[in-house]
Every structure is written in structure tokens, then in C-alpha cells.
Amino acid sequence: MVNSNADALGIIFPNTYDSLVPELVSERLMASIPFAGRYRMVDFILSSMVNSGIGNISLVVRKNYHSLMDHLGSGREWDLTRKNGGLNIVPPFAQKNIKMYTGRVEALASILTFLKSQKEKYVVMSDANIAVNFDFKAFMDAHIKSGADITVAYSKDEIPAGVRKKDDVTADMYFTFDIKDGRVVKMDINSKENGVKNLSMNIYIMERELLIKQINTAYLHGHSYFERDILATQLDTLNIQAFCHDGYLARVCDLNSYFEENMKLLDEANLDALFSGDSIYTKIRDDNPSRYIGNAKVKNVVAADGCVIEGEAENCMLFRGVKIGKGAKVKNCVLMQDTVVEDGATLEYIISDKNVTFTANKELKGSDSFPVYVSKHQTV
């Protein structure tokens, strides 16, 4: 058979790091957080996988996944409406002792039968908290070439404040590596060290058979966490190679970083770095082109389709269908889809979630270090 596809299936964990952004995930999950004007976080990894020839992708969801189901639909926009493979959303399986999975091991254990029945030789796994145009092809090639058991992608970054400051035990863990000749020799969990580290992106590739074996063993021992219980304990016996991603990426680690990462994309160099590669696909809304009317004044703005701007906007990320009324002034804001700013309102350092309305002449200001968040469907 002619095979233009990669010999790998993809698994995405859409709920990982939900705990970092409680505001944004009150009615959704990490993967469906709107980002960069017209996307959801999951679009980046999902499109990257598709663009690298991975056509069999499962999303193992834990909770709050209505918005994700709505966004992904049948997977058509990502070319994943396939007879073989395609998109596969796996909700928690209701059992007698229903228990939401805590770590990857339980999540994977719940789809073990599925994993066993697949044909692909490799499995790639990823979370959805990073907006990145990731080259899974290069990642896979590096893995095969090195002969590693497992390859993990990392970036050289400082540990983001958002994850560092979380101290409670329920928070998702993060991982940093010591690397020697490409091999991970030491793995730190929730390190508090300063400076640039080899920070894990939690993107993995390994053979499907190895994954099944490891999950079986870990599950039998009552282990929950893939990194803590499988990787960290077997650094001697498993050859875990590290793959450095040096391209652009945006991590969502808390509300501040969400704001900053959106703002960073106003810089053309960053926008190009994230989007000039293969296409990032997303749900189509059939909005009309954006319209600038009358005395609209716009500076340093990225806007999606469907916006109607009659007022002033400066340094803003405007999602699809945002309306800014006459005389309204919007500065340093991230306004999610269908936000309405009525005539004469003034906004600074605001993050508005979907369908928020700011009534006429309202004034609302946050600050650089503390943007004000307005939740879904609110009228201010």
C-alpha cells in the first residue's frame, strides 16, 4: 500500500494543566481555550500532527469537554473525517466505581484495548497547553535515528511563573531535564530553580508495544503518572532521548501568560514564527470580512474575521465577531469571540471571554501585571 502517512497514531490529553487557569476553564478545558484571534489551543498540536501525516488521533478527555466536542465536530476541518483512523474523542468510561483519571497512566489504561487493536508502530502523545507549529515528522525521524526507547520534546526556557507558584498537591506537575549526549539523565519534578532550563513540552514518541507494556505494568502497581512513575524511575533502563524544539511556542500557564502570549503575537515576527509554517486549522464560522467604519482608529491590532470596528483599538487581540462601538477606546486588551464594546466604553488591560458585553460609556481598567478577566456571557 502506498503510504504517505506517518506510521504513528496521536494521543492528546486535552485537560492537562487545567488547574493553572481556573478562570478560563470554568466551562471548558485547556484544549478549547480560545487563542490568537481565531483558534483554540488544541488546534495547534492537532494541526501539527495532521500536517506531519498523522491521521489517527485520539483525545482522551477528562471533564468539561462539551466545548471541545463542539469545536472539533467530526474533525472535518482538520481533515480527520476518515474511515480509517481519523478523530476519536474518548470520554471517561462509566464504570461501577467511576473515577476520573488523575494521571496519564489511568487515561491510557482506559484506552488500552483500543491501543492494542491499532496498526501504527509508534504513538505520539501531547498535551494541549502549548501553541506551537510542531514538526512531528522531524521529531519522529530523530526518534527512529537515535534508536531511543522514548523521545521527549523540550524547549530551553525559564520555568514560567505560573507553574512555579503553584504549590498545592493537586496541581499538574511539570518537568525539567538534565541531558547528556542527547539522553535524559536526570528528571526534576516541579523544580524551583531559576534560569533557563530544559523544560519538557510533554510531547512523547515511543513504540506502541512499549507503551502498552509500560502502561500495563504501571497500572498493575497502582501508578498514576506517566512522567513520575514510568519515566523518572527508569532513566537507567529506558533510553530516553531529548528533542529540542527551538522554534516559536506559546505556553499557557496562568491568566497572565495567557494575556502576554496573545499580546506577543501582535509583533509581526512572532505572528510569522507561529503561523508561517504549515497551516493551523480551526473550526470555520463563515464570518464576513472585518469592517472598519467611520472614525475607526486602529493601531497594532490583530483581528479575525467578523469584527466591526467603529471606535479606537490599540494593542489588541480581537477574536472573531468582536464589535467596538463609536467613541469606544480599547487598549491592551484580549477580547474573545463576539465581545461587544458599546459606544463610548473605555477598556484597558481586559481579557473578556466569549459573548461579553461592555455597556455604553463603561470604564474598566486592569493593569499590565494584572489584567482584569471578565467571564463568559457577562454584561458589564
Partner: protein, 402 residues
């Protein structure tokens, strides 16, 4: 299951008066209004009116159109039974033929229509910008007990002689048809949109085909034959926005009217009557700190650093610093380099306008020409394109064309 009404969309038009824009694509595939193509309008009207089976008759330069239509999914026309079908002329046991005329195009696809066993067939034109509810037209057709209905627009009397005119009595029953008459007896212009009872249409198509002297055209042959036989023919009055965008100036004008929906009546922002299109999939547009945007429409993928006034920019247009764009229609993927001045013109897809080049000019002294640059053209630095120019091949730096 039989369909009540299916649509046949005539999309074979060459659009020769759009010359530079239709060199490589059929007129219905010409981009319009920032993110649409002309054919999006009749297709979206069909879907919004509840018609789920559409045959698109193509002939001239069909590649772009075929790819654009694809399986019809963007218009929700990917259906198990019905959906959208592109129908080029094909070879039959008795030989093959190009579509000789509008009626012949339908005649050659009688077997397609019969697969759906419809009661009514609506004939649509693929070169008009119009938002119309065809279900309302069908209701009229049924109420009148008509065998044939035609949608008509009232036009100013002094322009009436440019159109095919329907003369109708007080019950809207058509009594006479005048094709571009010197002395118009009516100001009801045919929009080229017809509803037929299928049995009647089939009968007249077969008859028409048997007539060796016929031009096989709806306006010239089928409608006069129906009149001759005293069929029940009615004129359905349509009063919404309608524009035949057959010329450069009317295409430009219609685009400009999109910028002013409050007055022109062409509202693309209607949530209840969405116009669907195949999406560019580009990321949001970016407007830099030095840019000026006034009264314009901008689509995904644009990068604006210059000045853009009263213009429509399609997906992926770049306007570099210092460039000026005014009263212009700039289609997808075009780059306007630093210092270039682009005014009162249509620039097709994937054009590069070089630095400090000048394209078109604002009207003055009764000179209202709309300069046109065809797709893929490279206009060199400092080149000058006059307001009446129609450019379809590269222009070297510094050259002038009028």
C-alpha cells in the same frame, strides 16, 4: 425520494467583458466582497431557501470553479441524496457537443434532473450578486398556478431598453416579452432567474432541440415559444439588491457597495442570510502601528502597514509601509509594496505591485476608468498604470501603461 424543486445554475459564462479577470477562470469564480466568489451568492441562496440539490453547468475554464466547489461542503451541499454537482458537457452515445446555449445546457442534462424527479426546476445565473429567497419565489409560482415564472426587477424607464423586458397585466401574468426593445412597453427587466414546472420545461427543451434554427437560448427561444402557446406565465417582482457584475465598472461598483450596506442594500453581515464560502484558513489580519484604515473591509491573513481607505482587501493581502490604497478592490494574496499608490481599481489575485508604482487614479474631469490588473501580474517598481488600463501581463519597472 422526489425533490420538490432543484436548481440548475448556469455557470458557463466566459465573462469576456471582465477580460483580465477571467483569463484563467470562469466568471462565477471571480472573487467578490472580501472572501467570496460570485457563485457563493446563488449557492448560499439555494441553501438558505431550502434547496439541497444544485447542478452547476460549466463550460469555460472550469478548473478553478471545480476545485472551489469541491464536494460542496462549505455550502452544506454535501448530501447523500442530492447536493451539488458540477455538470460539464460530456460525450454521449450519439456524440458529444459543447453547450450550444443556455437551454441546450439544460437539455443535455435532462437525465440528471430526472434522477431527482422534481416538480419544479429553478434556473439560476452564476454571474449576479443577489440575496434572494427562492422559496418565496416558488410560493408565488404555486399561488399563481404558473407553469413558468420569471423574477423581474423594476428598472428606470430610460434604461429599460438595455434589458429583456416582461410586459405583464395587473395579475402579473406575462403577455409579452421584449428583448432589448427600442420602445419599451414595460420596465420589468428579467433577472434571468426562472421557475418551471418540470414537465413543461422538459417538453419545451425537447421541442427546442428538434428545431435546427433555434439558438437554444432561454431568452430568445424558450420564452417566446411559451408565449406563443399561451402558457401560464407570471412575473415575480423582486425588490432586493441585484447586480449583474458583467463589466469591470459594475464589479467594482458592487464591491464598493458592500462597504456601505446601510445605503446600498447589499448586506453581507446578515446573520439570517449568511453567504457561505470556502475559507482561506489564514490567521487573523494584522494592522501595524503606522497603518491607517478607514472605512474598509479586511479579511484574514492581511498585513497592513500602509494607508487603506474605502477599499476591500481579500485574504492574505499585504500593504507595505507608505503604500496608499483607496477605492480599490484588492484580491487574495496580492502584495502592494512600499510607497505604491493604488487607487480606484481592481487588482486580481497574487499580484505584486512594485515599490512606488502607481495603479489607477481617482476620477477627475469626467474620467472614471477603473484600472484592472489581472491575476499573477508583476508590476515593477515605479511603473505607472493609467485609470483605463487593463493589464494581464507583467509590467517592467518604470514602464507606463494607459
Amino acid at each position: 425520494m422526489a425533490k420538490e424543486m432543484i436548481a440548475m445554475l448556469l455557470a458557463g459564462g466566459q465573462g469576456s467583458r471582465l477580460y483580465a479577470l477571467t483569463q484563467k477562470l470562469a466568471k462565477p469564480a471571480v472573487p467578490f466582497g472580501g472572501k467570496y466568489r460570485i457563485i457563493d451568492f446563488p449557492l448560499s441562496n439555494c441553501v438558505n431557501s431550502g434547496i439541497d440539490t444544485v447542478g452547476i453547468l460549466t463550460q469555460y475554464q472550469p478548473l478553478v470553479l471545480n476545485e472551489y466547489i469541491g464536494n460542496g461542503q462549505p455550502w452544506d451541499l454535501d448530501r447523500l441524496h442530492g447536493g451539488v454537482h458540477v455538470l460539464p458537457p460530456y460525450q454521449q452515445a450519439s456524440g458529444s457537443d459543447w453547450y450550444k446555449g443556455t437551454a441546450n445546457a439544460i437539455y443535455q442534462n435532462i437525465s440528471f434532473i430526472e434522477r431527482y424527479n422534481p416538480q419544479y426546476v429553478i434556473i439560476l445565473s452564476g454571474d449576479q450578486i443577489c440575496k434572494q429567497d427562492y422559496s418565496d419565489f416558488l410560493r408565488f409560482h404555486k399561488e399563481k398556478g404558473a407553469e413558468f415564472s420569471v423574477a423581474v426587477m423594476e428598472v428606470p424607464w430610460d434604461e429599460a431598453s438595455r434589458f429583456g423586458l416582461m410586459v405583464a397585466d395587473e395579475n402579473d401574468k406575462i403577455t409579452e416579452f421584449q428583448e432589448k426593445p427600442k420602445n419599451p412597453k414595460s420596465n420589468l427587466a428579467s433577472m434571468g432567474i426562472y421557475i418551471f414546472n418540470w414537465d413543461i420545461l422538459k417538453k419545451y427543451l425537447v421541442e427546442d432541440e428538434a428545431d435546427p434554427n433555434s439558438e437554444n437560448d432561454f431568452g430568445n427561444n424558450i420564452i417566446p415559444n411559451l408565449l406563443r402557446d399561451g402558457r401560464n406565465m407570471y412575473a415575480y417582482h423582486f425588490s432586493g439588491y441585484w447586480k449583474d457584475v458583467g463589466t469591470i465598472s459594475s464589479l467594482w461598483e458592487a464591491n464598493m457597495e458592500v462597504l456601505d450596506p446601510e445605503h446600498s442594500g447589499i448586506n453581507l453581515f446578515d446573520e439570517n442570510w449568511k453567504i457561505y464560502s470556502r475559507n482561506s484558513g489564514m490567521t487573523g489580519h494584522r494592522i501595524s502601528s503606522d497603518a491607517v484604515v478607514e472605512n474598509c473591509m479586511i479579511t484574514d491573513g492581511c498585513r497592513i502597514s500602509g494607508t487603506v481607505k474605502h477599499s476591500i482587501l481579500f485574504a492574505g493581502v499585504t500593504v507595505e509601509p507608505g503604500a496608499q490604497v483607496e477605492d480599490a478592490v484588492v484580491m487574495g494574496g496580492t502584495t502592494i509594496k512600499a510607497g505604491a499608490v493604488v487607487k480606484h481599481c481592481i487588482v486580481a489575485e497574487n499580484v505584486v505591485i512594485g515599490e512606488n508604482a502607481v495603479v489607477g487614479a481617482m476620477p477627475s474631469d469626467g474620467e472614471k476608468g477603473v484600472a484592472t490588473i489581472g491575476s499573477g501580474v508583476y508590476v515593477g517598481d515605479n511603473a505607472k498604470i493609467g485609470p483605463n488600463a487593463m493589464v494581464s501581463s507583467n509590467v517592467k519597472g518604470g514602464e507606463e501603461q494607459w
